[in-house]
């Protein structure tokens, strides 16, 4: 298959599409199975009853949001190092998905908090740090929309992504010193084994779906970039069909 390669990113746009679609489908099927498994097999919690089932989305979403943020930081660092525009587009794709996941974590946490603690919001360390993380993702994405030049956008957002990543542990520590009232962190160690497996499988399913979403956004970002470059080349040459290098 003939494939158009973006000059700035060096990534062919038709690459690995089928493979990622498979990952997405597997993730979706696994998520449905894991949710059913969790809802049907795990017994109601002693204190929380069936409300505990929220954990099967809330906790995997939080874990994967951290993963997305790590991806933003790594891709940003790689961009500053190598200067490939593709890394910047990858960071942006991961940030979009990360914002969605932190938003989901917060919303589910609040839905769970109201019946459990009697309040929608508490200034608890992990909740508060997640909110800060959410705002940093939002600021990162807003910065991108406010800058038109591709190289400047890439350079600036890479720096903002890196400083944001540096800030995450400091925010977490400071908020933890400030307030401490939460339920012990949910991890396979703090849980009865009947909850462990559904949680793990759900986390893996969500991770596959996240990978699919990031890959999909990345692909469309590369396509947009390639289209922009082709348009520019076309405009410069003034002749239709003149652009497009072949790989």
């Amino acid at each position: 298959m003939e494939s158009v390669v973006s000059r700035a990113t060096g990534v062919p746009i038709a690459s690995r599409e089928v493979r990622w679609t498979t990952v997405g489908i597997v993730g979706l099927v696994l998520l449905v199975v894991a949710q059913l498994y969790g809802v049907l097999t795990s017994p109601p919690d002693r204190d929380m009853g069936h409300l505990q089932k929220i954990m099967y989305v809330h906790v995997p979403a939080a874990w994967n949001a951290m993963l997305a943020f790590l991806l933003v930081a790594l891709a940003s660092l790689r961009y500053l190092w190598k200067g490939r525009l593709a890394d910047d587009l990858l960071a942006a794709s991961a940030a979009e998905v990360g914002m969605l996941l932190t938003g989901l974590t917060l919303a589910l946490g609040m839905i769970w908090g109201k019946p459990t603690w009697g309040i929608w919001w508490t200034w608890e360390p992990r909740l508060t740090s997640t909110a800060v993380l959410f705002f940093m993702f939002v600021a990162y994405l807003i910065l991108r929309t406010f800058v038109d030049d591709a190289e400047r956008r890439a350079q600036w957002s890479a720096v903002v992504g890196l400083l944001g990543a540096l800030n995450v542990p400091i925010v977490y520590m400071s908020v933890r010193w400030w307030r401490t009232l939460h339920q012990m962190q949910s991890s396979p160690m703090t849980l009865d084994s009947s909850y462990t497996w559904p949680l793990r499988v759900n986390a893996i399913a969500l991770m596959l779906l996240m990978a699919y979403a990031v890959a999909h956004r990345y692909r469309s970002a590369i396509m947009t970039q390639t289209a922009d470059e082709l348009m520019d080349r076309l405009a410069l040459q003034g002749a239709p069909g003149g652009g497009g290098s072949r790989a």
Binding site: V147, E151, Q155, V160, L163, G164, I170
Partner: protein, 228 residues
């Protein structure tokens, strides 16, 4: 390039910015006035009860500094952009970080002057007397201000050259300011109450780490920001 040359460059940029500010004074007047205005608004919002005002004083001071100071940073680059002076400044030989360090020093002096007015006014409006350990309080204020001005000067290098800069800077800056705000307010409050829980030290160390980390990071990556 020796260390001396770099220092001369830093000083030149700082003095240039401060001279421009001294000759117009419009920025300083506006920002200080806004700071005092924010304090007044807090006073109205929190009601005239002396106890609740006193409890909220330190938080109100810091928010007044953040809300007014954030306006100063974009200005620091806006003056260069208006005069078409940023490119010539970049064309001068020497390291990029010295431009950042110079602007940082000028902004520190600027925000320090604003604080010199805003803090005493806040003490009057919120019925706070001069605390016993005022030296330590000054240290906390200084550490908090350094963290604030470092990232403010850094992010303004981007926001001042993008669309909607007035919105962008606070959006970028304020989420990063949460440790500074927490650390400064908690350390000051703890010192005000005689540091009974002995926790002021931990907060001061946190502020110190924050300042060092972000000062080093900003100096290291500033050239990526200013060159595009």
């Amino acid at each position: 390039m020796s260390w001396n040359d770099d220092w001369r460059r830093v000083r030149a940029v700082a003095l240039k910015d401060l001279t421009a500010e001294r000759r117009s004074k419009s920025g300083l007047n506006a920002v200080t006035f806004l700071g005092v205005l924010v304090l007044m608004l807090f006073g109205f919002a929190l009601g005239p009860d002396t106890e609740s005002l006193r409890d909220a004083a330190i938080g109100a001071i810091w928010l007044a500094i953040l809300f007014s100071g954030v306006l100063a940073f974009n200005r620091s680059y806006q003056l260069e952009l208006d005069g078409g002076a940023l490119e010539p400044l970049l064309l001068y030989p020497g390291s990029r970080w010295s431009i950042f360090a110079g602007k940082l020093l000028a902004n520190l002096a600027f925000v320090g002057l604003v604080e010199l007015i805003v803090i005493p006014v806040a003490m009057v409006l919120f019925h706070v007397s001069v605390p016993a350990g005022w030296g330590a309080q000054l240290g906390v204020t200084l550490l908090g201000t350094i963290g604030f001005v470092t990232l403010g000067t850094f992010y303004a290098a981007m926001s001042s050259r993008s669309r909607s800069r007035e919105v962008l800077l606070p959006l970028l800056l304020f989420p990063m300011m949460i440790p500074v705000l927490l650390g400064a307010v908690e350390a000051s409050t703890s010192l005000m109450e005689g540091n009974v829980m002995r926790d002021a030290g931990a907060w001061i160390r946190m502020l110190l780490v924050y300042d060092v980390v972000f000062l080093a990071a900003a100096l290291a990556v500033f050239e990526f920001v200013i060159e595009v």
